[in-house]
Symmetry: C2
Subunit: 509 residues, 2 copies
């Protein structure tokens, strides 16, 4: 077998200067052919291995070249939220190749995220892999999903710069690459607002990603268990088990409701020793659910108070590791702090040199195009109508993002069908009707099988408002039909049924 | 409302020197009564708050005092694995108070852990909260679960020293406390063996806890996604997607089988761009499944090879961040390294001054008592028969631990019923029959609806061996009936059905 070892060593030497992948045959008892193919003969390559050149992040050596006229045009989508995913789902992959760039490989079904923090739903039930939403990205030859952040847009060259997301000490260092686009859709969303308040980023937990819900759950269960251990003072116990929610919008109200449900049912049963110490406080500077009908607001206030949530008017001045300082000097000790005061433009959006709408979002026209540049669109929480359109900036809601994604998919398909898919080709194409948003109504749950449904078209309008169990049933049904795949619909239904029968899960994993 | 503020300030001053919990009434719009009760008047306390005295870990100020003759005797269980949980489930809580000390609040259903790494099962389906196994620990006044590690045993004083498990920067620092016991059961398990090989702890992932399975899953999905990004060489891609499993016992074989299943079905469908680069190698120094019948071993070898797992004879010398060095100098590059070469005594067990069995486990007699000390028992992977008993040390298997837990529960209930429950009271009590272990057979799956069932009583004996689909069906059914609660039985069945219909989940959360 010497010939074999020689071949291995020669190919190995030829293919790599930095790493030796020799695999002497004496060690291999089965399927040696695999080893040769993978560790040696396939390794003829010119690009330096990223792990062997840590300086790679400054020199971009590779990426996706511009498409040729005989190839499918390429739509590059930044982000994997409601807007981006709905767009990708609707794009005709016979016309376009789809490339998605996002730091996460799934869409989060945000309206149900609050339920996962206390174990009503499993984390996986609210996460939908992008590969299920648009299967082409994992199978079609020119479509890809890249786990990366966009670092810059060159609208003249029609290309973007990206940096991979990696983690862990043993992982490869992040590296940069470029992607040329025919159409670029910026749907990278917004960031949680902290209003520059000191300590928020360090000590509060937001509620926007699955990882946030996991962190809240781990902390809540840790605090419940720690407060039962001998040696802890009653005062410290009260602090550890004081859950404070800042912000009385739908997310804050739903989370408070879920939390008080969890306390009423599960903590009383499973953490009986400490049940009298746990409390939920919701702090809001103005009014809770300010976008809802006044009758619904009153109902929500009554229901939350009834289920033990303390509603406090206050403005946060500073957040310290174990207490919040309000504007008037009041100190509020806490064990868990959840921050949900709405969203603002992300640093990436702030840094782009594209035109801006009021509020600092990327400015778009009536067709969701970014004017002044070619082939760039923006949808979702990161986009807003330009002042020149005379239209208001739409609220940062899942239904706005979803509707924009659906609209833009139709528009791009129409453009592509008539040959306007490639870069700088769509100047004379008929774009179709403008994007018009019609509000279908708002929903929020307040716990204990109670919810609010506000079916008014706008804040001033008149319309149907519902409260109570019927409303809660509508809330659950509406979400169930919107959860993207059948797999997750099935899982959410099973989760709800299991929680109803067996109670919530309390294992801290 | 000045009277109210004064009361708040006075009680607050009286109760705490270090922290102010004043909550001026002007801010409180609802349920002020709660605040007073929780932040002030309940805070009369003498023990210093742990957070205000970081030095608390050296001075133990509190804990559970010895039980009085008119109180229920207290059984303290160290650990929450198969042995400890089966014991707690069987203990009669009319006779005993049960206190469990463990760094995790759930039992892991270890035989199904390998399936969670690739998304066949959800993580939560294999974790059973201790509060469901023995509800008394969360509700009965004298029974507790403490999230802590045992740091020392004083058999003369009949007490143990513990330190709480905490995490996160904003959490309280860990503190120490004491627990007096009437009966102590050491069931803290074993640790993964590294045989002192350099780099194993730093770079390999074990497969013993849910967190390990989560880490494996995150790394596998990260590597799959990274290897699709432009700028990565083919050689680096092959390295990233090379999954190496060290150890050919049931865990290593099952994980390899699950992984090759995942590759054959899900990677080929969902990561089509990189499917030719991913490979699984199982490295074993001797033979795979060495405890099984020779016919079953041959079958397993054939099945694994057929499904693409490369079996390699080899002894690992050193583990580096991206490659393994074998004893003969061969270098094996890897992207994911899973280490499952069996278990050995933990540092805690090594440090105790109790008698030891061959192999360094805590030595027990035929009734699972630790001789030479009063009221101490040991079960599970941390215990072994003393040489003087003339019996062999039992293998570190779930079924041994489960049988020992069940036996000891019956023994302790019998002792407690005749008044021997309190410390130093059981000298003349009739203990009943000795513990005798009868091996019921071994099972292992090799992926693709194939499994092995070895129903021989021991390695040399003759008996029934099964392979193939029937065997796989038995394997699944057997596990389904053993998953502890109906909730988890239901979930595991639902997970299996969903995976069968929709494929595995690939979201990286």
């Amino acid at each position: 077998m010497t010939w074999f070892r020689n071949i291995l060593q020669i190919t190995s030497f030829k293919s790599s200067f930095n790493q030796k992948h020799t695999y002497p045959s004496s060690q291999i008892i089965y399927t040696t052919r695999f080893f040769i193919r993978n560790f040696t003969s396939e390794s003829f390559q010119t690009t330096p291995s990223p792990s062997s050149s840590p300086s790679v992040s400054n020199t971009i050596t590779s990426g996706l070249e511009p498409t040729k006229p005989n190839e499918k045009p390429r739509v590059v989508v930044l982000g994997s939220g409601w807007a981006g995913c709905r767009l990708m789902k609707g794009l005709d992959t016979n016309i376009y190749d789809v490339v998605c760039v996002s730091p996460r490989n799934h869409m989060v079904f945000t309206p149900l995220l609050a339920s996962t923090c206390v174990g009503t739903l499993e984390f996986r039930s609210v996460a939908e892999p992008i590969g299920r939403i648009q299967p082409a990205i994992s199978t079609a030859p020119g479509s890809y999903f890249f786990l990366a952040n966009c670092k810059g847009i060159d609208t003249d060259k029609h290309e973007i710069k990206c940096e991979t997301v990696t983690d862990g000490a043993d992982s490869v260092p992040p590296w940069n690459f470029k992607i040329a686009y025919d159409k670029l859709v910026i749907a990278s969303g917004a960031e949680a607002s902290t209003f520059g308040i000191k300590g928020v980023k360090e000590h509060a937990i937001f509620l926007r990603e699955v990882s946030h819900a996991q962190e809240i759950r781990r902390k809540l269960l840790l605090n419940l268990m720690l407060s039962d251990v001998p040696g802890i003072s009653k005062e410290e116990k009260s602090r550890l088990l004081h859950c404070v929610v800042i912000g009385g919008g739908p997310t804050g109200v739903e989370f408070s409701g879920e939390l008080s449900d969890f306390i009423k049912k599960d903590v009383h049963e499973r953490y009986a020793h400490v049940k009298d110490y746990i409390h939920v406080t919701l702090i809001e500077a103005n009014e809770i659910l300010s976008s809802f009908d006044v009758r619904l607001r009153e109902y929500a206030t009554k229901q939350l108070t009834k289920s033990g949530v303390r509603l406090v008017h206050g403005v946060v001045k500073e957040v310290q590791p174990q207490k919040i300082i309000l504007n008037d000097g009041t100190e509020v000790p806490y064990g868990l702090l959840v921050w949900s005061t709405g969203v603002g433009p992300s640093n990436f959006i702030k840094a782009t040199e594209l035109p801006k709408s009021p509020g600092g979002r990327i400015g778009v026209d009536e067709w969701l195009r970014v004017p002044s540049v070619q082939d760039v669109f923006s949808i979702g929480d990161c986009a807003g109508f330009l002042e020149t359109t005379g239209r208001p900036v739409l609220p940062a809601l899942a239904q706005v993002a979803e509707r924009q994604g659906r609209y833009l998919a139709v528009l791009l398909n129409r453009v592509g069908k008539v040959g306007g898919g490639h870069a700088n080709c769509a100047n004379d194409t008929e774009l179709g009707g403008q994007f018009v948003y019609r509000h279908l109504g708002s929903m929020a749950t307040v716990g204990r099988y109670k919810a609010l449904v506000d079916l008014r078209k706008n804040k001033e309008g008149k319309g149907i408002s519902l409260t109570g169990f019927v409303s809660w049933f509508i809330w659950r049904s509406a979400y169930l039909t919107r959860v993207v795949s059948w797999r997750n619909r099935f899982y959410v239904a099973v989760n709800w049924a299991t929680t109803f029968v067996f109670g919530r899960d309390i294992s801290r994993i």
